[in-house]
């Protein structure tokens, strides 16, 4: 009874708060956009990054937030899980997932991996860098934790579909800083990470060698023309077309100032992409 | 005055054998507060040497000086000297722990360890490895017999010592000390917690034990002093500090004290 009364009091206040949850990758430009809007338009915006993209999708599905941040597409499964929710993806930029390695691996001359090599490493068939052209050292693979957009992109590239990825057992990393930190501090380390986190000093982004034997680096040009295979769109998700505060927010992110923030954090803004109308 | 008391030859132990324990100019203060001042005592071997006096005069403090147990009291300072078989115990030649092996002690309350009777008796000799493991049962039996406890406990050596009566516990503590074969046994009011029967048993024991051991007994019971002691020292309070008012053989002290403080004390008891 008391709870009911509390609910009644609390309900009208809700409309004022814009709540956002999801991918840490999308969070960077989003959080900064939120800071600007809080200052300029006195909007109340709450941002959290629990559970990565999957967390964003389920939070939106459960109605806990108005905007979900995701670095992967909504899947059929998601739609089945939340039948009453009309997921709408708003594309705000593009990011590449790079295979990053620690300094010693880079200096031993490993510059690229093929898709087959990645699959073998992931399945534990290759466990030493010497098998892929590096020094004799165990491959310390850190798997991005389940639910993260980064992992989905990786699995999609290597196995065609994230659901086809075999169950494996590796140490897992969550946030981007954690992944970068661990790769930087571990010899022979390899992990999946948003390419703009590869600073070229402590952690290095490998190229992907395609079937033609060409090494494609995760550079802006290669991402824009989709030559680099492990790129991913960054989305703000809404239930139905954006409206109210959510619309104000998304419009801001799509505006030149918002897109500038996307570029600032190392992602490709929409105008940098070769938009193929898809 | 002291000289007078000592010189008055009224007791049989005139033959002056070398003293076992001797305190010379002994003073003790605890936390800056003087407790005992300028104590001089000579304790002859194979005697029961009693220390009497009003409570709070420092009798327990004095007896604890003889085996240096006083040093466990925080901020206790001892000056002067005590000799044990003519050697100073404070000089450091003899480690206090080794001293305590040779000068055993019995406390006011029997302090048994929460172990079996048997384990209690052999506690010291076993921990200090003073006898071979095989000899332990024999030592235990001998010590229990010497403490007149053997017949009462021989069938339940493995029972907890806490099940014994207080009087039996005190005799067990005595056996524990006897097992180490000390030369001197210090007893700090050993019967104050006991019933009359147990008290009598302990007193009987003292008389027997003095055939082989020297006993220093603190007691507040004048009757007990008369029953068991050969020599007595009376510790009285003078200006807030404990002093030995008089030393004399037992009957001399109790029947014919010289010092007014002792007279007053005896009158009150």
């Amino acid at each position: 009874m008391t709870f009911g009364a509390i609910l009644a009091i609390a309900a009208p206040v809700l409309a004022d708060i814009l709540k956002i949850n999801g991918s840490t990758t999308v969070n960077l430009p989003t959080a900064e956009a939120a800071e600007i809007l809080r200052a300029e338009k006195a909007m109340t915006i709450q941002i959290d990054t629990q559970g990565g993209s999957a967390g964003g999708i389920s939070a939106l599905g459960d109605g806990q937030v108005q905007i979900g941040m995701s670095s992967k597409h909504i899947t059929e499964q998601d739609k089945l899980k939340y039948p009453s929710v009309d997921f709408v993806e708003t594309h705000i930029g593009e990011d590449a997932v790079a295979m990053i390695v620690s300094k010693d691996v880079w200096e031993a001359g490993v510059r690229s991996l093929t898709r087959e090599q990645l699959a073998d490493i992931y399945e534990g068939k290759i466990t030493n860098w010497k098998d892929v052209g590096g020094a004799d050292r165990r491959i310390a693979f850190f798997n991005k934790e389940p639910g993260r957009g980064t992992w989905e992109v990786f699995a999609h590239f290597v196995y065609g579909n994230a659901r086809k990825a075999p169950p494996v057992s590796f140490p897992e990393v969550g946030g981007n800083e954690e992944a970068r930190n661990k790769v930087a501090g571990t010899r022979g380390a390899l992990s999946q990470l948003s390419s703009n986190w590869a600073d070229g000093k402590q952690v290095f982004a490998l190229s992907i060698k395609n079937d033609a034997g060409e090494e494609v680096a995760p550079l802006a040009a290669n991402i824009a023309n989709r030559k680099y295979p492990m790129s991913r769109p960054l989305f703000l998700l809404t239930n139905g077309a954006p409206s109210g505060d959510a619309k104000v927010f998304i419009d801001f992110v799509l505006s030149p100032r918002g897109q500038e923030l996307v570029r600032k954090h190392g992602y490709l803004s929409l105008d940098q992409m070769v938009v193929d109308g898809k | 005055m002291l000289k007078l008391a000592q010189d008055s030859a009224c007791c049989s132990t005139e033959t002056v054998s070398p003293a076992v324990l001797e305190a010379r100019g002994l003073s003790v203060s605890i936390a800056g507060r003087p407790i005992l001042k300028d104590v001089n005592l000579t304790i002859q071997p194979r005697q029961v040497f009693g220390i009497i006096g009003p409570s709070g005069a420092g009798k327990s403090t004095l007896i604890k000086c003889f085996n240096r147990l006083i040093e466990l009291t925080p901020r206790a300072v001892v000056s002067g000297d005590i000799t044990f078989n003519q050697g100073s115990i404070l000089s450091g030649a003899l480690h206090p722990d080794d001293l305590r092996v040779r000068i055993g002690m019995l406390f006011q309350q029997p302090v048994v360890f929460p172990k079996s009777i048997y384990q209690n008796v052999i506690f010291g000799v076993r921990r200090l490895r003073m006898v071979s493991r095989r000899a332990l049962p024999d030592v235990a039996e001998a010590a229990l017999r010497e403490a007149a406890l053997w017949e009462e406990v021989k069938d339940r050596l493995t029972d907890s010592a806490l099940k014994l009566s207080v009087g039996q516990q005190q005799r067990l503590c005595l056996a524990r000390t006897l097992a180490m074969q000390p030369e001197v046994i210090l007893m700090d009011e050993p019967t104050s917690a006991l019933d009359p029967r147990s008290t009598e048993a302990i007193e009987q024991l003292m008389l027997r034990l003095k055939e082989r051991h020297t006993i220093v007994l603190v007691t507040h019971n004048i009757g007990q002093a008369r029953r068991v002691c050969d020599w007595l020292a009376c510790v009285c309070v003078n200006n807030g500090v404990g002093e030995v008012a008089e030393t004399a053989c037992c009957d001399q002290m109790l029947d014919n004290p010289c010092c007014q403080a002792v007279v007053d004390y005896l009158k009150r008891n």
Binding site: L7, A10, I17, I20, E32, A34, E35, I45, I47, D48, T49, Q50, G51, G52, A54, G55, S58, G61, K81, A140, P146, G147, P167, P171, V173, G174, N176, E177, K182, G185, T186 | L72, D97, D98, G104, M105, F107, V111, F113, P114, K115, S116, F123, R127, L128, R129, M130, V131, P137, V139, A140, R145, E146, A148, W150, K154, T158, D159, L162, R212
Partner: protein
């Protein structure tokens, strides 16, 4: 009832006292106790109920098989159970000897003042929030382990060993403080008797004090084990979180040098969010909580049973090694009277006694290593605090405390994080105080013997419950059932529930110490039981309430696990304007997130600054409580 026939005075008249058949105090006490006991029972029941789907799906395989792949709907938690046990075993192997060694030094060797200093340092160590331990673990310990065991070709510095060592430091204060208490509870006379026999100071401790304190020491170790089993946040950050990595080479060092996963670290991770909408996956996750609860509960109740007054009153004196050779003596004990034998005995030469043998080097070595333990324990603590303040000092400025977060933690300050944490702990205090007073009254005034012991067990259990389980409970009840979303009130309630045992125990300790004559005097004036409670017992126990609350608040302020799912978000919350969907920011969660996610080198500085700020709040609270606490404590132990 009638006015007196002869009025004593005309200036006033007395009215017959109002007597009710039942008292509001009793009702209040019953309600508070019911809430507490109901919460414990409710949590177990809730977890058990929510776990059912996975049991019908996986059956026994849920605990016996080693395949946790939620995408494939395979839920076998064996590796997590093993991981939990391994991590705790490492922690115990390190913390138990070091903690007991240090306790021997503090209780037996240190003079009063030095002992107090060490006690203070250890109390402070106990107050450091687990997320701060985790932070230190990430930055120092994992590198240390990685470099030290380089020859073993480690996958990385995140290992079972790393987590175990970190936990060892965390549970060290528990082992040390409780062992110290147990040792000090052994009467001084016992030591004196041993010294009187000529045992050295150390032998007296090892052979008299320690054996008699063993039950207390074992309980201390068990309680520490309970904490180790349930720690989520710190372990999460350094254990590697590798699923299904069952050790393949037992009896070697290898399993310890692998990454792993514990029950609690799994619960602290992302799967909670993913599982949220899927009944089966959710059941599997909650089931981990249930397993954890059962494990910790068993250990805690064991400790409680050991130390309960019942077992202490009739000491189960296990009579050790009966003398093998004592038997034959019977044969010759039959002859003669004891007197005759005694005389015979006395005539004999002294038996085989020889001079005492002392192993001086062993003694010196032991004392030296115990002292080293003490130095290690206090040194680690001081080093941690210094490191945090040293690294955080550059961030600490007025701006840091008055501005809100900017640039995802890289700029600005932690104003709203401090506000949020203060709001949470204030709410917790308001929730906890009435309940704790009610339970304490029930425990020390209304209940007798058995029932009081039962209630004591409930408090023990509540105290031992891992904080991550409070978070899980809150997620189910407040977020899922009540639909509050993230709410400061939910966090406050959960933290308040967590504080109950700490405050209650402090209160009960104080009430027990209250001289009986006060109560008798009050009852002698004709005051009823409840009037006595409010006029005598509670005012006289204020000190217990204050110190208990401060300690509880210190713990609540640093907790991450109970609030991470229920009350706090990373950015954007300010002053809450309602209850539903009204999260706050907080200091511990800020550290937890930034430790995993930051994009800017400037974040590092802010991160340590935040840790320093959190540490300041926690230490301030425990330092205020310290003087009174130490005094009460010494009284209680010496009584």
């Amino acid at each position: 009832m009638n006015s007196p026939a002869v009025p004593i005075t005309d200036t006033y008249s007395v009215v017959a006292p109002d007597r009710r058949r039942w008292s509001y105090t009793l009702v209040f006490s019953v309600i508070g106790t019911a809430v507490t006991a109901g919460f414990v029972v409710g949590m177990v029941a809730l977890f058990a109920w929510q776990t059912l789907p996975v049991l019908s799906h996986s059956g026994l395989g849920y605990v016996t098989s080693n395949n946790w792949h939620y995408r494939q709907q395979m839920f076998g938690a064996l590796s997590m159970i093993v991981g939990t046990l391994l991590v705790s075993a490492v922690a115990l192997c390190v913390a138990a000897p070091v903690g007991i060694g240090a306790a021997i030094i503090t209780s037996e060797f240190l003079p009063g003042r030095a002992r107090l200093m060490v006690k203070i340092v250890i109390e402070l160590l106990a107050g450091i929030p687990s997320v701060v331990y985790g932070l230190v673990g990430i930055l120092y310990l994992r590198t240390f382990v990685y470099d030290t065991f380089e020859s073993f070709d480690l996958h990385s510095g995140d290992t079972i060993l790393t987590a175990g060592l970190l936990l060892a430091v965390m549970i060290l204060p528990t082992v040390m403080t409780l062992s110290d208490d147990a040792l000090r509870a052994v009467p001084a006379l016992q030591r004196q008797a041993a010294r009187g026999l000529g045992l050295s100071r150390l032998s007296a401790v090892m052979h008299v004090a320690l054996p008699q304190a063993r039950i207390g020491v074992i309980a201390a170790v068990l309680l520490a084990l309970g904490r180790a089993l349930g720690e989520a946040i710190a372990v999460f950050l350094v254990v590697g979180r590798q699923d299904n990595n069952l050790p393949t080479q037992p009896f070697t060092l290898r399993p310890l040098l692998e990454s792993g996963q514990t029950l609690a670290s799994k619960l602290g991770g992302a799967e909670i969010n993913i599982a949220y909408g899927d009944p089966l996956h959710w059941a599997a996750v909650v089931g981990l909580g249930l397993m954890l609860l059962v494990m910790v509960g068993t250990v805690t109740l064991l400790a409680a049973a050991l130390t309960s007054p019942k077992s202490a009153a009739s000491p189960p004196q296990p009579v050790e090694n009966a003398p093998k050779h004592a038997r034959p003596t019977k044969t010759h004990s039959t002859k003669g009277t004891s007197d005759a034998l005694l005389t015979a005995r006395l005539a004999q030469e002294p038996a085989v006694t020889r001079l005492p043998k002392r192993r001086k080097w062993l003694e010196r070595f032991s004392i030296g290593s115990f002292a080293a333990c003490t130095l290690l324990a206090t040194g680690v603590m001081l080093a941690m605090i210094l490191a945090i303040f040293y690294r955080g000092s550059s961030a600490l400025s007025l701006r840091f405390f008055t501005e809100q977060i900017k640039l995802v933690g890289a700029d600005g300050g932690i104003f709203f994080n401090i506000i949020g944490t203060l709001l949470l702990i204030t709410t917790a205090l308001c929730v906890c105080t009435p309940i704790a007073v009610a339970v304490a009254l029930m425990q020390s005034v209304y209940l007798r013997e058995r029932a009081a012991r039962g209630l004591g067990m409930v408090l023990y259990l509540l105290n031992g419950t891992p904080s991550i389980l409070f978070g899980l409970f809150g997620l189910v009840v407040f977020v899922k059932f009540l639909g509050w979303g993230k709410s400061w009130l939910a966090g406050g309630i959960l933290l308040g529930l967590m504080m109950i045992p700490i405050v209650t125990v402090a209160l009960v300790e104080r009430m027990k110490a209250l001289p009986k004559k006060y109560i008798e005097a009050a009852r002698g004036l004709g005051l009823s039981k409840s009037q006595t409670v409010w006029s005598v017992i509670i005012p006289q126990s204020r000190a217990g309430l204050v110190t208990g609350s401060l300690l509880g608040l210190a713990r609540a302020a640093g907790e991450t696990a109970p609030i991470m799912f229920t009350a706090t978000i990373f950015a954007g919350a300010m002053f809450p304007r309602g209850i539903v969907e009204s999260p706050v920011l907080s200091l511990p969660y800020h550290i937890f997130i930034l430790a995993q996610d930051s994009f800017d080198p400037r974040v590092g500085e802010k991160l340590w600054g935040t840790a320093a700020a959190l540490l300041m709040i926690v230490m301030l609270l425990s330092l205020i409580a310290l003087p009174v606490r130490l005094r009460i404590h010494e009284e209680a132990v010496s009584a």
